[in-house]
Symmetry: C2
Subunit: 152 residues, 2 copies
């Protein structure tokens, strides 16, 4: 899947950035496992602790205050923020609860994935089952799939 | 190894951030694979393309102009930059050539790892053998080992 994303964006001359919370670098690591990824993948942030979503990805503090780290608005702001900071064509963002414990009233497995691109941004909610590793892995796959689906 | 780092820093009440180039998120992913990592690991950046080392990690452009992305000064500036942006106690940075091709006159496997902490910053050069995946994996292990060794 990362190979497909890199090849598709390379063919289009487009670029990608990432802003990750629960996946904690796994999405970036999947993309950069592909030789030649640097032609397409600009970079990204791992906005793991909540204040880092503002400091590293430019999420407005009032969004974090209103909805917390795990919500649609924060996912959208993470994607828009890293897209602006990197100047990339596309940006993917992940936030959610990998577990083992619920967080701020959200169950383990609640995940928001946002995709920002030239025509705006969208976010999708997923409720994944499994342990911490399974939830993180499913989130990476769903994020890459969301981008593949969005490419016209 | 990530478990040891998280446990040691948690016991000390200290925090950690990362700025990654060739490891592309693998170091962050290793740290965040540990349940409870958010107590210690603030976040970080994947400064993959060279201009992102300035944009996301605050590396002074004159350092990049003088030494390029793969050198001791850039590694040190990546670590110092992400430590300043996150306010973490410690910061680890990686830059180098994962391959498959040499880059900017540097051979595949040349890697610089920098560690910034309360007493300043140090950088170490490694020359790793193996393919892209092996070089990235060895870099993650060496970075975590460098931090373990530095904890008094």
């Amino acid at each position: 899947m990362p190979e497909r994303v890199i090849a598709a964006l390379a063919a289009r001359g487009e670029s990608l950035s990432t802003a990750e919370s629960l996946t904690g670098g796994l999405l970036a690591a999947a993309l950069t496992s592909v030789p030649g990824a640097s032609q397409v993948y600009a970079g990204g942030v791992v906005a793991y602790q909540t204040p880092m979503k503002a400091a590293l990805a430019g999420v407005p503090p009032q969004i974090l205050d209103a909805g917390g780290p795990v919500c649609e608005a924060t996912a959208l702001a993470l994607a828009a923020g890293i897209r602006a900071r990197t100047g990339s064509t596309w940006a993917l963002a992940t936030t959610g609860v990998a577990g083992p414990d619920p967080q701020d009233g959200h169950e383990v497995g609640e995940v928001w994935i946002a995709l920002a691109g030239p025509s705006g941004a969208t976010a999708m909610r997923h409720d994944f089952a499994g342990d911490r590793q399974a939830i993180r892995t499913q989130t990476v796959a769903a994020a890459l799939a969301a981008l593949c689906d969005a490419l016209p």
